[in-house]
Amino acid sequence: MNIVVCVKQVPDTWAEKKLSATDKTVDRESVDGVMNELDEYAVEEALRIKEASGGEVTVLTMGPDKSVETIRKALSMGADKAVHLVDAGLHGSDALATSYALAKALGTIEHDLVILGVESTDARMSVVPAMLAERLGAAQLTFARKVEVGDGTVKIERLTDTGYDVVEAPTPAVISVVEKINEPRYPSFKGIMAAKKKPLTTLTLADAGIEADKVGLGGSATTVADVAARPPKQAGQIVKDEGDGGTKLAEFLASQKFV
């Protein structure tokens, strides 16, 4: 089974994130980039499926030149090859435009499964997997906490608020995974050295057959109209227990509609 894992480089989870003053996109230059944490689970799941039933794992990343660090990490974890979609014209693409670009890039890679993390820590919309499945005309199996691969089919446990649903579909399919699914491995030094020799294909808009006016800031359906800094943290409210601490806490929680 050939699997493509979509991997995104995001600003370091713990760094203070900023938006660029000029075009209100996420500032990716002034902070360290890391692999989106949920994508590590996606890579791990792809590697486990490959180790159990064979096939090839390809990493697909859309992002600026710097994203190659994240591609290398996925390769050093054990993926076989990588495709890097990189073009200045992609800058500022929203979720819809991103799903279009990824779908086009996926057209250049033979695959049975596409696996993604359920969301990225920078945008957190959690919509790209579904949009991508729609664009590919493939089944969407999202929020997977367990994946089982059969002969031409794939079955997942889809995490819900109350438990899980079992969802099965024929391949090709698009799967998004939650962090409960596995424990991602660390790369090894051997893996790091091996990653240097693995094939990495770079695609431009033209290479992937992407129409320039459908991506980037101009090709996006959404725009960021205005940006305001988060208000500073307000001083907390101290409840003194004078025998009625419990009541006061309950009243506070009720006033905030927590209970």
Partner: protein
């Protein structure tokens, strides 16, 4: 906080990222509990072994990582910031591979190095004795040839990994010759008569066991002699410099962790309505700590680059060991000061950092010995 480093290659950068991730996610969260219990973290060594970090500085031919010291030491530093005992263990393990790698025959290298470097074994180095510390040449454990083996008697002291190691480099006296009286035997941990004693009760680094090894007629095959008979002291001395750089890097890592903790605390903690980081008294303390950490790193890397370039680096290794460990002692002590009363409690890691660093001024050659080495080098006639 990740340290911004100058690294020679992309793979070195990926390796440092890996070391940082391991330190933050796997080492730091476990350190305090293992230290408290005095438990050797075999599972953590398995993890760093699988990651390929137990043979980084050795040739790829026998399964090592082929990395320059400049890179290997920075990996140690990153790991030490998470858990000093683990980084120290890797430094000692790396030292324990050195005699076979540098003085072993091709046959010995092929027989043992792949396993030693492969990540599944942990090694130990038995040089000191109760009465032979700084004056290692005065050791008295004996190895007497008997047929195709040596019979070892005596007691080795201060052995890191004593009781948990898979093999021991044992320095023993094979004659009373002052210069060529010491030989090195590589003994398997299962050797009958090689008896690790209960670990010493220490101020810190309790998850890294330190024990005496009693040699009670332990028979070690003669083909486990590393180098020629009588060459032991030369081997021991030549291994020292690399080990000293290892300790320099470990001390720098702990100092960095102490600086990071103190800085984060000083930015949060408010007194008189201001962050204490904004008071000059605290801010100057932090500034001196940061300068000492940067200087430590620069100094051990400068010595490492000499080693990587094949230049003599003995005095520079001593300077790095002396400076980095003294600086780390000062930085970790000041970190406790920044935390005030809280720093004196086990609720925060800085009191542990301070205890951990103290021994680094003592082992791998006391800092007085380092000054002696540097002084002798200066006094020697350059011609």
């Amino acid at each position: 906080m990740a340290v911004d480093r100058e690294l020679p290659t992309d793979e070195a950068k990926a390796l440092l990222d890996l070391a940082h991730d391991l330190a933050v996610n796997e080492l730091a969260p476990k350190a305090a509990a293992y230290e408290e219990r005095g438990e050797f973290p075999r599972d953590v060594f398995r993890l760093v072994g699988e990651a390929g970090l137990l043979g980084l500085a050795y040739d790829e031919e026998y399964g090592g990582g082929g990395q320059p010291y400049e890179v290997y030491l920075q990996v140690l530093e990153e790991l030490a910031a998470g858990w000093a005992a683990v980084a120290l263990g890797i430094s000692v393990h790396t030292l324990s591979c050195y005699p076979v790698a540098a003085f072993g025959t091709d046959e010995q290298k092929a027989r043992w190095l792949p396993d030693m470097l492969g990540g599944s074994l942990v090694g130990a180095y038995c040089l000191s004795e109760a009465h032979a510390g700084s004056d290692a040449g005065s050791l008295s454990a004996r190895a007497v040839r008997d047929g195709d083996a040596y019979v070892l008697t005596g007691t080795k002291a201060w052995v890191t990994h004593g009781g948990v190691a898979d093999y021991y480099n044992v320095f023993c006296r094979t004659s009373d010759d002052a210069k060529r009286g010491i030989s090195l035997l590589l003994a398997d941990a299962s050797t009958p008569g090689l008896v690790p004693q209960p670990p010493e009760k220490k101020m810190a680094l309790r998850s890294s066991p330190t024990a005496q090894i009693v040699l009670d007629g332990a028979r070690v095959d003669a083909d486990r002699l590393i180098g020629a008979e009588g060459e032991g002291l030369r081997i021991a001395l030549s291994a020292l410099d690399g080990g000293r750089l290892g300790i320099s890097a470990v001390a720098t890592g702990v100092a960095q962790a102490a600086l990071d903790a103190a800085t984060a605390y000083a930015r949060e903690r408010k007194q008189f309505g201001r962050r204490i980081a904004d008071f000059q008294g605290v801010s100057f303390l932090l500034a001196d700590m940061a300068t000492a950490v940067e200087a430590s790193r620069a100094l051990y890397l400068s010595a490492a680059r000499r080693r990587d370039a094949g230049k003599p680096y003995g005095p520079q290794a001593s300077m790095a060991k002396l400076y980095c460990t003294d600086a780390a002692m000062r930085v970790t002590t000041d970190a406790v000061q920044v935390f005030g009363g809280y720093g004196y409690t086990t609720e925060f890691p800085v009191e542990r950092y301070m205890r951990e660093v103290k021994v680094m001024q003592i082992f791998e050659g006391t800092n007085q010995i380092q000054r002696m080495v540097i002084g002798r080098h200066l006094a020697a006639d350059p011609s």
